[in-house]
């Protein structure tokens, strides 16, 4: 119902509650949801996210994966809210507010510019959106996609389809070797870099360990890296401070979720995260530098 739009606070602090337009199963553990929220879709850029209200359960952050047919996001089933979310069907009500945060910054495109996009695990949504945008802006795009197994390669078909539209090379890697290279998205990226390291920028999203390793890798090539981070979010609009990652008070929900990796040196990036209480917990992952 749009009758009192004039009187409503902006959609970044008040959810648009609307029936789901469509649900698609993307991988065994991931479904994509599309909702009608033109005011969000119109302004969203890749890397921005929405807070998704699963009525009766919780409100959780989800990256926007597309704004073509409505606002789309893709959620992996990991806990309470995402499990309930996966039970919802077309027509069920969902709340979304956004677009939130700052997205990827696209360098000025020229004919020479080639962009590397790297997605690991559940990191595909913002990268898929970014790929579409980069192509529309005239970039030559290479994509490195990684997952645990072939079945879990999120948005594989979507990236594949983009090969006809502007994706130059699309390399996948799986932990179990069931598709592409044996390894992670960082290994896929390494493969691409080995062939042609002339990237003007790299945008990445995925598990934080992967982002750290990717950063180490790209520093060798001096390719500027933008990473999309995840932190526990409470307000999503920079008010509560729960998602802060450094002493300057950088908020993942507000200054991020996309950061220039070079600005994260003195931050919690790759080191610690906070749980729902605000307690700090060390991040554990396998490093490629050791």
């Amino acid at each position: 119902m749009t009758m009192n739009d004039n009187f409503n606070p902006s959609a970044i602090i008040r959810p648009i509650v609307t029936p789901i337009l469509g649900v698609t199963t993307e991988t065994p553990r991931t479904k994509a949801f599309t909702i009608s929220a033109p005011s969000i879709g119109k302004h969203a850029v890749p890397g921005q996210f929405v807070m998704v209200w699963v009525p009766g359960i919780d409100e959780i952050p989800m990256s926007i994966s597309s704004v073509n047919q409505g606002v789309e996001f893709a959620a992996a089933r990991v806990g309470d809210a995402t499990t309930q979310l996966h039970k919802l069907k077309k027509g069920d009500l969902l709340g979304v507010r956004g677009p939130l945060g700052k997205g990827f910054v696209f360098p000025k495109a020229t004919e020479e510019k080639i962009m590397l996009l790297v997605a690991g695990g559940c990191g595909s949504p913002p990268i898929a959106f970014a790929a579409t945008m980069a192509i529309r802006m005239g970039f030559v795009v290479d994509v490195a996609l990684g997952a645990t197994s072939k079945a879990e390669l999120l948005f594989f078909n979507r990236f594949k389809d983009l090969e006809t539209q502007g994706v130059r090379r699309f390399v996948v890697a799986t932990d179990d070797g069931s598709d592409g290279l044996l390894g992670t998205s960082v290994d896929a990226a390494t493969f691409l870099l080995d062939t042609d390291p002339a990237y003007s920028a790299c945008l990445a999203c995925g598990p934080e360990g992967m982002l750290v390793n990717l950063n180490t890798l790209l520093q060798k090539y001096s390719i500027p890296l933008q990473v999309s981070l995840e932190r526990y979010m409470k307000c999503g609009v920079g008010l509560c401070g729960h998602c802060i990652i450094d002493l300057e008070g950088s908020r993942v929900c507000h200054e991020g979720p996309v950061f220039d990796a070079k600005n994260l040196e003195e931050s919690d990036f790759g080191k610690v995260t906070r749980d729902a209480t605000g307690k700090k917990e060390p991040l554990q992952f396998e490093s490629n530098t050791s």
């Binding site: 970044i12 008040r14 209200w53 009525p55 919780d58 307000c235 008010l239 729960h242 729902a276 605000g278």
Partner: protein, 321 residues
Amino acid sequence: MAPKKPAKNNSGLAIKIGSIELANPTILASGVLGVAAGGLIRAWQGGAAAVVTKTVGIESRTGHPGPRIVGIYGDSLMNAMGIPNPGIQEYLPEIESTIKHEIPVIGSALGNSPDEFASVAEQLAKAGVTAIELNVSCPHVGSLYLLGMDPQSVTEVVTEVVQRVKGKTPVWVKLPGSTDYPCLVKVAQAAEAAGASALVALNTLPALAIDIESRRPLLGAGIGGLSGPAVKPIAIRAVWELHQAGIAIPIIGVGGILTGSDVIEYFLAGASAVQIGTGVLTRGSTIFSNVCNEISDYLKEHGINQISELVGRINDAGVSS
């Protein structure tokens, strides 16, 4: 990375809250940005003269399920965070790294009993906080709101806390968002008599907002606390009632402050300092310096040397309580 102290180009803004001297009257309110040291530092870099921590207790709390905030008509807000906090032990490092930058930190404490309040306060005091703020007034956490409406309970909590911090660290009491001013005055008097050094008025007001599509409350907890411009005239009334009633300890005004004008209004009603929370959403984390600049302009235009000269200087002749 050493955060830079904001430029102090505004004269006439220095104030005192009892023995505490602050460079300007704006303080970051509890629960905003304060989960992490970086948030407290950000507010201070944005111009806040002091910062109040997130309210912390003995045990950790995950807080309420989302949604935890919802916008209300007219730049106002409702929240039901549910006071998530990692517990005082885990939180102390955040306080310490903030204090390291010579930022005056006010530690906000909650408890299920006078003893719990006092235990948290003791640890805050030991960490070197400038003052302790007792949150006896969160409207969406169990019985906290009711605690703050009961003079007897407030007496017990404040007495215990003041005794345990041995009068070394000033104790502030944050009052509930009540429109029952006679009751509020009694609570304030109880707090003052029990040794509180300042009062903070007000916490958020208990409220409910409903989504008419899902027919559910718009906040995960159902009930939430109203803040922002909607509550300003109510909180200013509270400050005025307390001032009128002869409360002698300083009153810190909080609720809906967006501009320097708002601060002047609070001062005229009887406040000696203010806190800003929701305004951080409306004007960003530099709201503190923006507001200070606006206050400076006002003082200059009106030939006033010190903002503190304005405390309680409302011309309310003929106005009856």
